[in-house]
Symmetry: C2
Subunit: 268 residues, 2 copies
């Protein structure tokens, strides 16, 4: 690191503002004004390193976003809205953009997504895997089998499972310690716990799920066991859909065999 620590929030703010679509001049100008509260083009130029003659354009851009007010005097003075209001402004802006996006996508999306798939799809980051898990659980009508290491049994997943349980789907949950089992039983009384089908820890295994016997997902934690345990290990998953999908067929075989058995740990 070679950056002045005092400048770190300034840099972060500028970076985020740029990501929201401001030009670098506009972003730097705004941050300068937040620090100053109020100031002239010259003031802004001094603390923001924006060429003085360009401050005016930047202000205009910021006015378009409703982020600064100006005082019609000579020299003109500029005033930045409060941090709080700024966030509110962007929140509204983003809501707006999102609603346009969802409207457009809904029109484009074919009414029914192809269900049966031949291949096996791969998903990469942890958050994406979680997305997929939640999506699939959300489609469950009859049965969810979900086996996971505890780290990955996050609140939103439990939420999705509860939703499925309330739709009268059977929940089989495996791989979690007895303490956590208790907590889950409170949330989802109907969930049925089962022991791990095999030794679960000390493997890179992440989660393993099957929904209605026609959709399955398997994930592993990458950056192997011997790696520095600093980084939360990244997750990567494969999933498949359809009665005849190969991944589905394999997992269905395993699960139905094991779950119908009352003493699953001994065989094979």
């Amino acid at each position: 690191m070679e950056t002045d620590p005092d400048e770190e929030p300034r840099f972060a703010a500028i970076q985020q503002l740029e990501r929201f679509g401001l030009s670098t001049y506009a972003a730097r100008t705004f941050v300068a004004l937040v620090v100053l509260g109020t100031g002239t083009a010259k003031d802004v130029s001094r603390v923001s390193e924006v060429p003085r003659t360009r401050v005016y354009d930047a202000i205009e851009e910021l006015q378009g976003f409703g982020l600064v007010d100006v005082q019609q005097s000579s020299p003109k003075e500029f005033w930045a809205i409060s941090a709080e209001t700024t966030v509110g402004t962007f929140e509204r802006e983003m809501d707006e953009r999102l609603s346009i996006l969802v409207r457009a996508l809904d029109e484009l999306e074919p009414v029914e997504r192809p269900e049966e798939q031949r291949g096996v799809w791969t998903v990469d980051s942890r958050s994406s895997v979680t997305d997929r898990v939640i999506e699939f659980i959300g489609e469950a009508e009859e049965e969810v089998v979900y086996m996971t290491v505890e780290d990955l049994l996050t609140e939103d997943v439990v939420e999705a499972l509860r939703g499925a349980a309330e739709r009268d789907a059977t929940i089989h949950l495996g791989g979690v310690s007895s303490e956590v089992q208790g907590r889950i039983q409170e949330d989802i009384p109907d969930a049925e716990m089962f022991e791990s089908l095999w030794v679960w820890s000390d493997t890179p295994a992440g989660r393993l799920m099957m929904v209605d016997g026609r959709r399955t997902l398997v994930s592993v934690l990458v950056n192997g066991i011997d790696d520095a345990p600093t980084e939360p290990r990244a997750e990567t998953a494969v999933w498949g859909a359809g009665e005849t999908n190969s991944l589905v067929v394999v997992l269905r075989a395993i699960f139905t065999h094991r779950l119908e058995d009352d003493d699953p740990l001994d065989e094979q």
Copy 2:
């Protein structure tokens, strides 16, 4: 218009995706996949007009956002997440960015913003003016005088007024018809209504407010009366702060004079 109406949502979707930071290739590729549900580079290229050879880069970019999964086969196949999940993904992304921004801005913002101001600031769009109005009402400790045309008495403003009333500030509200007065009385029982100080309609007047006798705002509706009444008329405002601010002094004179009078319509 010369665009195929069928293509309009497609265009809108691409545009929004670009604003969220996707390259045009990535945006076009994703939209193509949403339409197709699933497809190879060739398929995508055909419907998206993205050069076939660059589809792969686009997919990589999209994977970074968690928007597509791929099938490791030859040819590779690509799968787009559902519209619903897409929105969720961006929602999380934006929340993340916003929280970084607010953290950074809070550190930068001087603890107390300068209160007394000499000049008069101008604000431009309707939403920005509303922002300022709400902000100022939120600072009220003793008294809010707010006179407005009914169009501009939106729910969020009423909300802010209620908040001020609950902090034991006196609310004087003027310029609204008796029907609306009734509705407001329900929301904010303590609000005190007063008649317009002058003929209010048929002027370009918008709102006029004073908070604690030290902060005032006046707005007008531009794009004059004789303009086509299609567009909701734009609003532009000026505001000032501080006991000795000229705008504040003028409005305080008017308001205190008129409000203390029981028969405000006749004089001057």
